[in-house]
C-alpha cells in the first residue's frame, strides 16, 4: 500500500452500482477504478447522472456498491464511517436552524463524545480556519449563503477526520463568493493536509482546485479520463489566465465531450 | 397494484385484525362480572358464589376461575363492551332489515342527522366564503373581524349548542333548523379562516403580473385569487363538515330529541343499551368518513380540472 512515502486513502476496483427503480435498473457506476493518495485534492466532474455524487456517497458508505471493491483507509467504507474517517459537506449547508453556528459545529463533537472544553476549543479553531470568528453565537438564518456554507465546512473540519468529502459545496453560490471560497479552501487544504474529494460541474473550479481531475460521463456512469494537474501547489486566482491552466481546462472539456459523443 | 401499495394494504389489514382481536379479548374481562351474575341466576355454579365477594375481585382472576363463562361474554344482552359481531348484527338488523321509515331504522336516524348537517354546512360554508371575500377586500373588516374569527377557533363554541336549541324552541323554531344553526356556525369559522388564507395565497410576483396587465380588482379576484384559494378551501371544508356533523349530533342531545344519531346515543346511554350506542357511533363514523371522502373526491376532480393538482 505504501510506495515512496505515499499512502493510498481511497481505492476503487471495478466498482459497480445499479439502482433498481420503477422505470427499470439504472447503471449509476460501471467499472470504476481509481486510487486516491493521502493529501491529494481530487475533483470529480461530469454532467448530471454521471455518477460523481454517487461515487462520493459510496466512499461515505451512504450508498452500497453492487459490485467490485472499495476501500477507505484500508477498511470497508462502512468501517471507515464508523471510525469517523471523513467529514462530508453537502450541496446545501444543512445547518440546523435551531442551533447557533457554534452549536452546529459542536453537533458532530457531541455525537462523538468530545469533552465540553475540547468542543469549545475546536469550535474556536475551525471558526478561525473558515474566517467566521465572532459569528459563533449567530443563528444560521441570520447569515448569508456563503457564510452558511463556510460554517458547514467548519462543521466537517471540527473532528479529526483526514478525509474531506465535498459534494458541489459551492454550487448554489454566486461567482464572486465562489471564487473567494475556492481560494480559502486551497489555503485550508494547505494548512490541514487533508485528502479532499470534491464534486463539481464547473471546469474552472475543478482545474483551479485539484491535483487530480476525474472526468466522468453518464449512462452508464463511468470514468472517461483521469488528469494529474501540472499546476503548482501555490495557486493565486490569476493562475486561471496561465497557459498551463487553459491547457488542463481544454483537456477536461475534451474528456467531457468524448464521453458525450459516445451516446 | 404496486408493491408498495400492496405492502401498505396488508399492514392496514393486519393492524385492523389486531384491533378486532384485542377488542374480543377486552370483552372477556369487561363483561365477566355481568355474565357471572346472569349465569348464577340461571343456576350455574360460579366461583366465588357470592356476588358481593366477586365485586372486590379482579376481572382477570374471575376469568381464570370461571373460564366456562368466556363464550357468554361475547353474547350478552346489555354488555359493558359489546363484541364486534354484536355491533355488526345490530347494524345489519337496523339498516337492511328495517324499513327506512321505521323509528328503529338506523338509516332513518342517520338521515335526520345528515340532513341537519348538510343544511348547516351549506349555510355555514356560504356565509364563511362571503365573509372571507369581505375580509380580503376590506381593510376595516380584516382588522376588526379576522382576529375574532381566529380566536373563535380556540374556543369550545359547541358549548353554545344546548342554549341555541332551547332558545329557538322557545320562539317556536324546532326540528331541523336549530341543529342546522349549530352545524352552520361550527363550519363557518374554519371556512372563514381557511378561505382568507387561500385568497391571500398568491405571491407578490403573481399579483404584479396582473398589475402589468392593468387587470381590474374583479379580474384579479376571479382569475387569480379565487382559483388559488381552492386548495385551502377544500382543506377547511373537510374540517368544516366534520365539525358540522359533531354539531348536529350534539344538537340532538339536550332536548331529548327522539330522532337522529345523537338521540340514539343518548337513549342508549339512558337505558344501558350499549349495542345501540356502539352501532350509532359506527353509523356516525361511517357518515363522517363518507362525507369527508366525498369532499376529497370532489376536491381531486375540481383541482384536476383546474390544473392545480395532477
Amino acid at each position: 500500500m505504501t510506495t515512496q512515502g505515499t499512502t493510498t486513502v481511497i481505492e476503487a476496483k471495478a466498482l459497480d452500482l445499479t439502482f433498481q427503480t420503477n422505470d427499470g435498473p439504472i447503471h449509476a457506476l460501471k467499472d470504476v477504478n481509481l486510487t486516491v493518495d493521502k493529501g491529494e485534492f481530487v475533483s470529480f466532474i461530469g454532467p448530471s447522472g454521471c455518477g460523481k455524487t454517487t461515487f462520493l456517497r459510496c466512499v461515505a458508505a451512504l450508498e452500497a456498491p453492487t459490485g467490485g471493491t472499495l476501500t477507505v483507509n484500508g477498511m470497508t467504507p462502512d468501517e471507515a464511517r464508523r471510525n469517523r474517517a471523513y467529514g462530508y459537506v453537502f450541496q446545501a449547508a444543512g445547518l440546523y436552524p435551531w442551533r447557533t453556528i457554534a452549536k452546529n459545529i459542536k453537533l458532530p463533537l457531541e455525537i462523538m463524545g468530545y469533552s465540553a472544553a475540547e468542543q469549545d476549543e475546536r469550535v474556536r479553531n475551525v471558526l478561525e480556519l473558515v474566517d467566521l470568528e465572532g459569528f459563533g453565537g449567530k443563528f444560521p438564518w441570520q447569515l448569508s449563503g456563503g457564510m452558511q456554507q463556510r460554517a458547514s465546512i467548519a462543521r466537517a473540519l471540527a473532528f479529526d477526520a483526514d478525509i474531506l468529502l465535498m459534494d458541489e459545496p459551492f454550487g448554489a453560490l454566486d461567482e464572486i463568493v465562489r471564487d473567494h471560497l475556492n481560494e480559502q479552501l486551497l489555503a485550508l487544504w494547505a494548512r490541514t493536509e487533508k485528502t479532499i474529494g470534491f464534486v463539481t460541474h464547473s471546469i474552472p473550479e475543478a482545474v483551479y482546485l485539484s491535483t487530480k481531475i476525474v472526468v466522468m460521463s453518464p449512462r452508464p456512469g463511468r470514468i472517461t479520463d483521469v488528469i494529474d494537474s501540472p499546476l503548482p501547489k501555490e495557486r493565486p486566482l490569476d493562475i486561471r489566465d496561465s497557459q498551463e491552466f487553459i491547457e488542463v481546462a481544454h483537456r477536461v472539456r475534451e474528456g467531457l465531450r468524448a464521453g458525450h459523443a459516445d451516446e | 397494484m404496486s408493491n408498495g401499495a400492496f405492502k401498505a394494504f396488508w399492514a392496514v389489514l393486519t393492524v385492523l385484525a389486531i384491533i378486532v382481536a384485542f377488542w374480543y379479548a377486552a370483552c372477556i374481562p369487561m363483561n365477566i362480572k355481568g355474565v357471572l351474575t346472569e349465569q348464577e341466576r340461571a343456576g350455574a355454579v360460579v366461583q366465588p358464589p357470592s356476588a358481593k365477594d366477586r365485586r372486590d375481585l379482579s376481572e382477570f382472576g374471575l376469568v381464570l376461575t370461571n373460564s366456562f363463562a368466556i363464550p357468554a361474554t361475547w353474547d350478552q344482552d346489555r354488555p359493558r363492551l359489546p363484541a364486534p359481531h354484536q355491533v355488526a348484527v345490530e347494524m345489519w338488523e337496523t339498516t337492511v332489515q328495517k324499513k327506512i321509515t321505521s323509528k328503529r331504522s338506523l338509516v332513518y336516524h342517520a338521515w335526520v342527522t345528515l340532513s341537519a348537517t348538510m343544511l348547516g354546512f351549506a349555510i355555514g360554508t356560504g356565509l364563511g366564503i362571503v365573509l372571507a371575500v369581505g375580509i380580503v377586500h376590506s381593510r376595516v373588516m380584516d382588522l376588526s373581524v379576522m382576529p375574532w374569527a381566529i380566536v373563535s377557533q380556540t374556543i369550545p363554541i359547541i358549548a353554545l349548542a344546548p342554549m341555541i336549541i332551547v332558545v329557538l324552541y322557545s320562539v317556536g323554531i324546532q326540528g331541523i333548523i336549530p341543529k342546522a344553526v349549530i352545524s352552520a356556525y361550527l363550519s363557518f369559522f374554519p371556512v372563514v379562516v381557511g378561505m382568507v388564507k387561500g385568497l391571500r395565497s398568491p405571491d407578490a410576483m403573481q399579483l404584479d403580473l396582473l398589475r402589468t396587465y392593468n387587470a381590474s380588482r374583479a379580474q384579479g379576484f376571479w382569475k387569480l385569487r379565487l382559483p388559488a384559494s381552492l386548495p385551502y378551501l377544500f382543506t377547511s371544508l373537510k374540517i368544516g363538515i366534520a365539525a358540522s356533523l359533531v354539531g348536529a349530533i350534539v344538537g340532538e342531545l339536550p332536548t331529548g330529541a327522539v330522532a337522529g344519531l345523537g338521540a340514539r346515543l343518548l337513549a342508549g346511554s339512558y337505558y344501558g343499551q350499549t349495542v345501540q350506542i356502539w352501532s350509532a357511533l359506527f353509523a356516525a363514523a361511517l357518515l363522517a368518513a363518507s362525507l369527508v371522502g366525498l369532499l376529497g373526491l370532489v376536491e381531486r376532480k375540481v383541482l384536476k380540472r383546474m390544473g392545480v393538482a395532477q
Binding site: - | S144, T154, I155, P156, V166, V250, P254
Partner: protein, 281 residues
Amino acid sequence: MILVLFAFLLWLLGWWVNGRLASGPYADTRMVRFLAPLIFGLTIIGIWELVVRGLEVSLVILPAPSLIAVRFADSLSVLWADFVQTIIKGAFSGYIIGCGAAFLTAIAVDRWEFLRLGLLPVGNFVAALPIVGTAPILVMWFGFDWHSKAAVVVVMVFFPMLVNTVAGLREATAMQRDLMETYAASYWQSFLKLRLPAAMPFIFNGLKISTTLALIGAIVAEFFGSPTLGMGFRISTSVGQLSLDMVWAEIVVAALAGTAFYGLVAMVEKAVTFWHPSQRG
C-alpha cells in the same frame, strides 16, 4: 325604541372609528391591530345591550351583557368550582395523558415501518371521526366523575396528536439524515439531535389543535352524565331552568379558558420553535 336607534348610531360610530384607523397612517402598527378588534368587540356588546333593552327581549331568549356580567360576578365560586372540575381535572389531565401517549406511540410508529404503514392510515381515518360520540360509553365505564371526561379527552386528542407527531418526525430532510449517518450517529442521537427538534413545529401544531378538542370533549362529555358540578353540567341544567345568564357566564369562562390554554401552548411554541420561518416573522 330610542335605544335601538342608539344601537344603530353606535354601530356607525364603531365602523367610522375603525375605518379611520384602518386607512390612517398607523394602520400597520401593533396598537391598531390590537385596538380595531377590541373596538369591534365592544361595539357588538354595546349594540347587544341596547337592542336587548330597547326591544325588551325576554331574559330567556337573550340576556343583556350587563346581566351576564352581574351573574358572572355573583357566581364566581360556582364558576371556579366548575372550572376546576371540567378544565383542570377533566380536560387538562386528559390532555396530558392523551398527548403523551400519542407522542410515545408516534415514536414507535416512526421507528417501525410496518406500524407506520398500518397504523397511520387508521389514525388519519379516526382523526376525522366524531369521537365525542364515545362519551356515553366512556361515562358508562369510568363513572360520572372527571375520570370519564379525561378518558373522552384522551381519545379525542390522541389521533390528531399522533398524526401530527409522525408527520413531524419524518420532516428532517434526506440530507440532514445523511449528515447524521456520516457521523455514525446512533438511532437515539439522531432522534434527539435532529428529528425531535425538526418535528417541534408539527408537534406544537398537534398540541394547539388538541387544546380546543380537550375543552370540547370535557364539556360535551358532561352532557351524558356528571356529578352536580362542571361546566357542561351547569350549561345543560341552566338551560333547563331557562337561566340563560348563567349559561352565558359559563360560556365566558369556556372562552377565557380556551384562549388562555391555547395562548399558553402558543407561547411555549414561540420559545421552542423560534427558529422556524413561521415564527421568525
